[in-house]
C-alpha cells in the first residue's frame, strides 16, 4: 500500500486531521473521515457538481481532487453555511422559492451559488445560470433555483457598484 498522507484541513472553521491513502478522493475524506455527509457523490465522473465544496474560497468538485491536495487548506461544506443557528440567505431562498424537489443536487447548488455571490453579489439572471452551469438538477428545471438565488440577493442587499462577472458573453 502506498505511503499514507497526513491531511490537515480547517473545515467549517474547525481544524481536522487524518491519515489517508493518497488515492483517497476529497469527497470521501469529507464524507467518510470527517463524517460530513451533506456533500453528495452524484455522478463521480466530474459531470454533476453534487460534490461541490469551497476550497480556499473557490468552488471545486471534491470528487475530482485527492484529499492530499487539500492539505493545509480551508474548506467550507454545506454544513458550514448555517451561522449561529441562522440559515444562510441562500438556504432560505431555496426553501422559500421551492428551489429543490428531491434535494440531491442542493448541497452542490448551494456551494456554487455561494461562490458566485462571493465574487458577484448582484448577478444578472444570465450570470446566475452561468454560475450553476457546472451543477445538474434533474427535478426543478432550474427556474426555481434561479429564483432562490435572486431571493438571497434581495435579502443580502445589493452592492452600490455592479462587479463584472467573469466569463459571461458580451
Amino acid at each position: 500500500m502506498a505511503k499514507k498522507q497526513t491531511v490537515r484541513v480547517t473545515v467549517n472553521g474547525r481544524k481536522r486531521e487524518a491519515n489517508v491513502e493518497p488515492r483517497t478522493l476529497l469527497v470521501h475524506f469529507i464524507r467518510d473521515w470527517l463524517r460530513l455527509t451533506g456533500t453528495h457523490v452524484g455522478c463521480d465522473t466530474s459531470n454533476c457538481g453534487a460534490c461541490t465544496v469551497i476550497l480556499d474560497g473557490k468552488n471545486v468538485k471534491s470528487c475530482t481532487m485527492f484529499a492530499a491536495q487539500a492539505d493545509g487548506s480551508e474548506l467550507l461544506t454545506v454544513e458550514g453555511l448555517i451561522k449561529d443557528g441562522q440559515w444562510h440567505p441562500l438556504q432560505e431562498g431555496f426553501k422559500q422559492e421551492h428551489g429543490l424537489q428531491c434535494g440531491f443536487c442542493t448541497p452542490g447548488m448551494l456551494m456554487s451559488t455561494y461562490a458566485l455571490l462571493q465574487r458577484n453579489p448582484d448577478p444578472t439572471e444570465e450570470e446566475i445560470r452561468w454560475g450553476i452551469s457546472g451543477n445538474l438538477c434533474r427535478c426543478t428545471g432550474y427556474q426555481n433555483i434561479v429564483k432562490a438565488v435572486q431571493f438571497a440577493v434581495g435579502k443580502m442587499g445589493k452592492p452600490k457598484e455592479r462587479p463584472v462577472e467573469q466569463g459571461v458573453a458580451k
Partner: protein
C-alpha cells in the same frame, strides 16, 4: 470510483520535481489541475504508479507581458485567465477559449499547461495557441527549451514533452496594433468537448486587408489542425464576404474529423466552415476597433 493506488509526492521546486520524474521514469505523472488526469485514473485509462503534485511549486502561476510576449505560467488556472485584466483587454481569443472549457468548478482547478500537455485534440487551448503562434517552454534536467506550438502536438495524447520535462510557461507574441481574435465552439452542453471549434487570430494592415492570420481547429483531427491553406489564401486580401467564405471552405477541407456521437464527418466539416466564417468575422471586427 476510487483510482488505483499510487505514491504521492509534493515537491516544492522544479528541480525536485524533475528529479522525481527521472527517478520514476514513465510510471510517473505530473499532477497539475487534475481535471483530466483524475477522471482518467478513475476509469483506469491512466494508471501512474507515482503522482508528482506540482501545485505547491512557486513561480508557475503568472500572467504578464514581458519581452514582446504574453507569458502564462503552466499552472495558471482557467478561471484566472478569464478574470485577468490584461487578457480581457488584449487577448479576447483567450477569454473566448477559457470561458467555454468545461464548467466553473473545473475551471477553478484546471490549468492551461495541463490543457496543452495532455495532448488531447478535443481540448480548447491547443487550437487557440496554434492560431496565436505560441511557444511552449519545457523545463527539464538541462534547463529550459522552447518548442514552437506547431511542433508540440505529435499525435493523439502525445506531445514533444520528454518524460522528464515539465511545461512551465506558454509565450504568446504580443499582437501588433489592428489585431483581433476569436474562438467559436459548438458543444452539445456545458462541460462537453467541442463537436468542433475554430480559433482565429489576425492582424489587419492600414488599408484593412489581412496582413497576418492564424487559424486553429479543435477536435477535427488527431492533433489540433492548423488551417494553413486558409491562412495562405487570406494573407493580403480584404476580409469581405467572398474571401471569408472561400477561407472557411479551405479550413473545412483541411479538417479531418471522425464520426462519433457528436455527428458524422460531413456535418463536422460543415460546422468547421460555419464556425470559421463566424470567427473570422468576429476577429476582424475586434481588429477594426
Amino acid at each position: 470510483m476510487i483510482p488505483p493506488s499510487f505514491e504521492y509526492f509534493r515537491p516544492k521546486t522544479i528541480p525536485e520535481a524533475i528529479a522525481l520524474l527521472q527517478q520514476h521514469g514513465d510510471d510517473a505523472k505530473i499532477l497539475s489541475g487534475g481535471q483530466s488526469l483524475i477522471p482518467m485514473m478513475k476509469l483506469r485509462l491512466a494508471r501512474p504508479g507515482y503522482l508528482i503534485d506540482i501545485n505547491r511549486i512557486a513561480g508557475l502561476s503568472h500572467i504578464n507581458e514581458e519581452g514582446g510576449h504574453l507569458k502564462i505560467g503552466g499552472l495558471t488556472r482557467e478561471a484566472e485567465l478569464e478574470a485577468s485584466p490584461v487578457v480581457r483587454a488584449k487577448y479576447p481569443i483567450i477569454v473566448d477559449t477559457a470561458r467555454v472549457i468545461a464548467d466553473p468548478q473545473v475551471r477553478n482547478l484546471a490549468t492551461v499547461g495541463g490543457n496543452l500537455a495532455h495532448g488531447d485534440p478535443a481540448n480548447d487551448h491547443p487550437a487557440t495557441m496554434v492560431a496565436l503562434g505560441a511557444q511552449v517552454v519545457a523545463t527539464g534536467p538541462k534547463g529550459e527549451r522552447i518548442i514552437p506550438i506547431e511542433d508540440f502536438f505529435l499525435s493523439l495524447f502525445s506531445t514533444a514533452l520528454q518524460h522528464d520535462e515539465i511545461l512551465t510557461e506558454i509565450r504568446i507574441p504580443i499582437p501588433p496594433p489592428r489585431s483581433g481574435g476569436a474562438y467559436f465552439k459548438l458543444e452539445r452542453k456545458v462541460g462537453d468537448f467541442a463537436t468542433a471549434a475554430v480559433a482565429v487570430q489576425l492582424t489587419l494592415d492600414e488599408k484593412g486587408a489581412c496582413q497576418n492570420v492564424g487559424i486553429g481547429l479543435t477536435n477535427v483531427g488527431p492533433t489540433p489542425v492548423k488551417a494553413k491553406k486558409a491562412e495562405d489564401f487570406l494573407r493580403g486580401k480584404k476580409l469581405d464576404e467572398a474571401n471569408i467564405k472561400q477561407a472557411a471552405q479551405l479550413a473545412a477541407d483541411g479538417s479531418e474529423p471522425s464520426a462519433d456521437l457528436r455527428g458524422p464527418v460531413a456535418y463536422k466539416k460543415a460546422l468547421v466552415k460555419e464556425l470559421t466564417k463566424r470567427a473570422l468575422t468576429r476577429a476582424s471586427e475586434r481588429a477594426s476597433k
